[in-house]
């Protein structure tokens, strides 16, 4: 009969825990995964955000330059553009190639017949050359399309008025677009990338320890000796489990702080990032993630116990973090409406909650409770399976 409340057993569990923490603190690989790997995601994201912020906000200060090919064909249009605050510059002779090479973001092509048609009040042609695969190109073409649309409307209004028709009658809607993603805020989309990065890291943090203390111990030939000590097998596993959980927690905390500092650094211009992830947020995130850490480590122990060798365990567990991170990665591009049932699924519920916390959306207590309770329950069930696997005679052989 398993006795969970024996003081002596817990003292011995703590001995195992202490040993594994010390042993792995001397291992460069364990430390790398717990302390350095978690910095990668925040670093990458911060660099990306700061680049986007630079691109989207730099154009505001300087007077905009527009490269035009065929300035001589559309003097009216060019004059209007200059009046609107644009510096018009003659484009190179091969504008397509110039845009392709990235010498400029856009070139406006004015058709040689432009003035002729324009004067006859026929539809005159202009084209825009742009490379939309580049973010600055996309922003530039957006701005140019807006400008040309405005010109179109101005000319159209004038022509209609000349015919004695009230311009207002033909314009039932006056569309003013208010772009909420002004300037730096365009990079808010990057906040959606935070949850999958956290989930990935969470499933990585203690993985080396889980392998080292199970398949590693078996492969080194130290497991059998260890089993001949007066500590029940579930206790032995619990000590190792707690050590792996500690390393996972350290990895998660390191990453959360890296996100905080990264965002603070890139968000100094007063964007949403400088407010993201207060200390309270970090504490909440950690608590909301804790059941998932238990889930991850339980799963790692099951796999590490079942595999025959260190290498085999490493292969499976190296792939494991990708699986729970997938929903989060998909949601970067296709966010979902949160439903209650989603909160019962480990990894998925945390992805949703993480997103809400990071984006400072309203969080429902019922959702948090469902997520914590659901994942905790499943984790405990997995932990019991892991303990059962530890009890098998074949533990010393693996498989």
């Amino acid at each position: 009969m398993v006795n969970f409340f024996n003081r002596q057993t817990w003292q011995r569990i703590f001995v195992v825990f202490q040993k594994e923490v010390l042993d792995n603190a001397r291992d460069r690989r364990s430390l790398l995964i717990a302390l350095i790997y978690p910095l990668m995601g925040p670093l990458l994201l911060s660099v990306m955000i700061s680049m986007v912020v630079t691109v989207t906000s730099s154009k505001k200060v300087v007077r905009e330059t527009l490269y035009v090919h065929g300035i001589e064909y559309g003097p009216d249009l060019v004059a209007w553009l200059e009046k609107s605050g644009i510096t018009v510059v003659e484009a190179p002779s091969d504008p397509k190639q110039a845009v392709q090479r990235g010498e400029m973001e856009t070139v406006l092509l004015i058709n040689p017949l432009f003035s002729e048609k324009f004067l006859k009040q026929e539809t005159a042609d202009v084209s825009v050359i742009v490379n939309t695969s580049r973010l600055p190109g996309l922003i530039a073409v957006n701005r140019l399309a807006g400008l040309l649309g405005k010109y179109n409307q101005t000319v159209w209004g004038e022509r209609i008025s000349q015919r004695g028709i009230d311009y207002q009658v033909l314009q039932p809607l006056n569309i003013k677009s208010v772009n909420v993603t002004s300037g730096a805020h365009i990079s808010d989309i990057f906040l959606y990338m935070v949850p999958p990065l956290i989930i990935f890291n969470l499933f990585m943090g203690g993985v080396y320890l889980a392998i080292d203390t199970t398949s590693g111990e078996r492969e080194r030939g130290s497991l059998e000796s260890l089993l001949i000590n007066p500590i029940e097998r579930w206790g032995l596993m619990t000590g190792k489990y707690m050590a792996a959980l500690l390393y996972t927690s350290v990895a998660v905390v390191v990453q959360l702080f890296a996100f905080k500092f990264g965002f603070h650094f890139v968000g100094s211009s007063g964007s949403v990032f400088s407010h993201s992830l207060s200390l309270l947020d970090i504490l909440l995130l950690f608590l909301a993630m804790f059941p998932l850490m238990m889930f991850a480590v339980s799963l790692q122990f099951i796999i590490a116990t079942l595999t025959r060798s260190f290498k085999e365990a490493q292969t499976y567990l190296g792939l494991l973090p990708l699986v729970p991170a997938i929903p989060g990665m998909v949601m970067v591009f296709a966010p979902v409406q949160t439903q209650d049932w989603m909160m019962t699924i480990p990894a998925f519920s945390q992805t949703l909650l993480l997103g809400q916390i990071v984006r400072q959306e309203e969080i429902m207590l019922s959702h948090v409770s469902l997520s914590v309770a659901g994942t905790m329950l499943i984790s405990l069930a997995l932990l019991m399976i892991a303990a059962k696997l530890y009890r098998r005679e074949t533990l010393i052989f693996g498989g």
Partner: protein, 242 residues
Amino acid sequence: MIELKNIHKKFRSVVALEGINFTARDGQVTGLIGPNGAGKTTALRIIYTVMNPDRGNVLVDGFDSVIQSSEVLQKIGVLPDARGLYPRLTAREHIRYYGKLHGLRGQDLESKIEALIETLGMQEIADRRAKGFSKGQVRKVALARALVHNPQNLLLDEPTNGLDLASSKTVHNLIHQMRNQGRCVLFCSHIMHEVASICDRIVVLSKGRVAAAGTVGELRQLTGKTEIEDVFLSLSGDDTSW
């Protein structure tokens, strides 16, 4: 004292042990000998509770190895066949780890560790990490951690296999010392001369059964042979896998 009563063990369809009976008494070195695959390691694993017998039972100082495994584990010290160390822990930390798992603490534990380091001549490696230890050094650490709790019963699986002469001698001295202190030593080996020279009683295993048991003299008498190799070979049915 270790008593095995009618132990049976099967791995899927392979019969490993088929009704093993023997007793290893206190104050004696009992040798368990047999060709490869005779069931020596399985018998030891059942005694030290890593495996359960399919039938029969093992008593260690009167405690049943299945239902009182925790008591049994406190009464035995084991040098198993697989005796890997943790490469990042020092020799002293290995012994301390096992001592703590046996509930030892503080000055009591530290002085026991110090005594073992001295007995086994480990002063030089005591505070070195185990990575790169020689076979002999590994064996000494494994022995020390098996002895830290002063067990009444000592189980040794091929303790001198691959050791140099000096290290083998240290192990032999230790075995004698334990016996003279009135402890029960179960010594498992396939090196015939070693078993014959240091064991008080010998149990010969062959194909999962006890082929014979007794002192060297009794076994010689039983087989009518004088050369120790011939004695064991004849008892194991001329098995060539020694």
